[in-house]
Amino acid sequence: MTGFYTLFHKELLRFWKVSFQTVLAPVLTTLLYLLIFSHVLEDHVQAYPGVAYTVFLIPGLVMMAVLQNAFANSSSSLIQSRVTGNIVFVLLSPLSYREIFLAYVLASVARGLVVGMGVYLVTLGFFEVPLRSFPWVLLFTLLGSALLGALGVIAGIWAEKFDQLAAFQNFIILPLTFLSGVFYSIHSLPPFWQSLSHFNPFFYMIDGFRYGFFGVSDVSPYFSFAIVVTCFLAVSWLTLKMLKTGYKLRH
């Protein structure tokens, strides 16, 4: 238990010591998105009846920040440790692969929560965002950030160099988040794109999360929940398998 807790704590310190880059910067970036998109699209788009576009946008952006930062935390920590070689200190220790998994994923969840809270709290100062069901909001935040934290572990282990990690981020994580309905309701899409969106797990994370705020969503939150849990279990299984066999970590 102490071993797990130490690694978890170390991972928290790692981002907290540079919170300017790891918390403040992403909060600021997200607020810029909000400012620009709401300014450009406020009068043209209405996603849900009776909900101003900017207000519609806020939960999506909060969740996007949560997901991206959760991914960034575990992936960048792992690739840095591997490239600099200090991952040996973890590998030499009696920490089990399960403890390593939990520590990295939970630290990712923490970073996702902190950044998400940051964005949310700032926007509250300017907009009135309803909060219909806090449990759904919390549930999707935790699940989504854990899923992305686990994906980050996979990416951080798989990538040999920083540019490979950037490729993973730019070609997989970023498109999936942008095409998940952060900026629109998928009902406003042509049928083809609408059905394609249903294959994007990120869509369900955003949609379920948004349901917690508005009580309205594109699909049932129970369905979204089932999909996200399934994805989380599948990704965790793969991550644990990689850690157990020592894939790319123990040569």
């Binding site: 102490t2 790692r14 200090n86 200190f89 030499l92 020592g246 123990r250 040569h251």
Partner: protein
């Protein structure tokens, strides 16, 4: 008695490269053991297999009776490894690094032992300095400290004195010797053979992934039969009668090898007869380096044959 380290028929292949080819080794508790060999012999690979940083292609390894794969948690708890590469986490200070490392081993309150290590490795001034700001030798000391936080009964040091100044080298060995006296098993690799000779009671020599010599340090040195004498002569020519004894001739120095010390009499007599004057004379004691060179050389000629 359970051996501290037990290695059975370990093979390791990296693609087409064979790093280890059937290593068998047993090291007893309390030994001070040297693992010697030229660059690329496989020393680090063997250590990595013990530590679980590398998985053996075949064969098995145990630390204090615990298999390093099947029972990895216990094996790792009993082992402290100083890695060869100079690695560190730039986010933390020396003390933070040691507290974190203790935590990985499940140790919450380890401050008094950490203080002791810091003291012995002369890191007290730097305890609150960020790792990034340390010199290379200082970083090496922290690596040693990290390997000791959990007081492992088996301590493996992979070239701990590379790039370390004389003072620390002495302090480090004093500390390690004390740990050995307290019952810790020590395994080290080094390219400084005088260090190995002075410290270790037993030596394994590795070459191209195989153990080519394994014996007590003293037996290995005794295996070099005879004695050598180094001479500077005037005139600078060796009498023909002594040519068969010549083993090397370098910058005016002749090294002659004799079977016994008493034969040196005959050498001097032969020189006198040839009216050659001895300007300098030095008796060379056989040492581990000589054994090393001889063993590495002889296995080479065997391979050529």
């Amino acid at each position: 008695m359970t051996p501290a380290i037990e290695i059975n028929q370990v093979h390791k292949y990296f693609g087409a490269v064979t790093a280890l080819e059937g290593i068998d080794l047993e090291i007893n508790p309390g030994e001070f053991f040297a693992l010697l060999g030229p660059n690329g012999a496989g020393k680090t690979t063997l250590i990595h297999i013990l530590a679980g940083l590398t998985l053996a292609s075949s064969g098995s390894a145990r630390v204090m009776g615990h298999d390093v794969v099947a029972d990895y948690r216990e094996a790792r708890r009993l082992l402290g490894v100083v890695p060869q590469e100079l690695v560190f986490d730039p986010f933390f200070t020396v003390r933070e690094t040691l507290v974190i490392q203790s935590g990985y081993y499940g140790l919450k309150k380890n401050d008094s032992w950490i203080d002791e290590i810091i003291h012995h490795l002369d890191l007290a001034d730097k305890a609150n300095t960020n790792m990034r700001a340390l010199s290379g030798g200082m970083k090496r000391r922290v690596l040693v400290a990290q390997a000791l936080v959990h007081k492992p009964p088996v301590i493996v040091l992979d070239e701990p004195t590379a790039g370390v100044d004389v003072e620390l080298r002495q302090a480090l060995w004093r500390f390690i010797k004390q740990l050995n006296r307290d019952g810790h098993t020590i395994v080290l690799t080094t390219h400084y053979l005088d260090e190995a000779e002075a410290l270790c009671n037993r030596v394994a020599m590795l070459k191209q992934g195989k153990v080519v010599a394994l014996d007590s340090t003293q037996n290995l040195i005794n295996s070099i039969s005879g004695a050598s004498v180094r001479l500077r002569l005037s005139p600078d020519t060796l009498p023909a009668a002594l040519q068969p004894l010549l083993t090397s001739h370098d910058e005016g120095y002749y090294v002659l090898t004799v079977k016994e010390y008493s034969e040196i009499e005959d050498v001097l007599a032969a020189l006198r007869r040839a009216q050659v004057q001895v300007l300098e004379m030095q008796l060379l004691q056989p040492d581990l380096e000589e054994v090393f060179v001889k063993i590495m050389g002889s296995t080479e000629s065997q391979e050529a044959a």
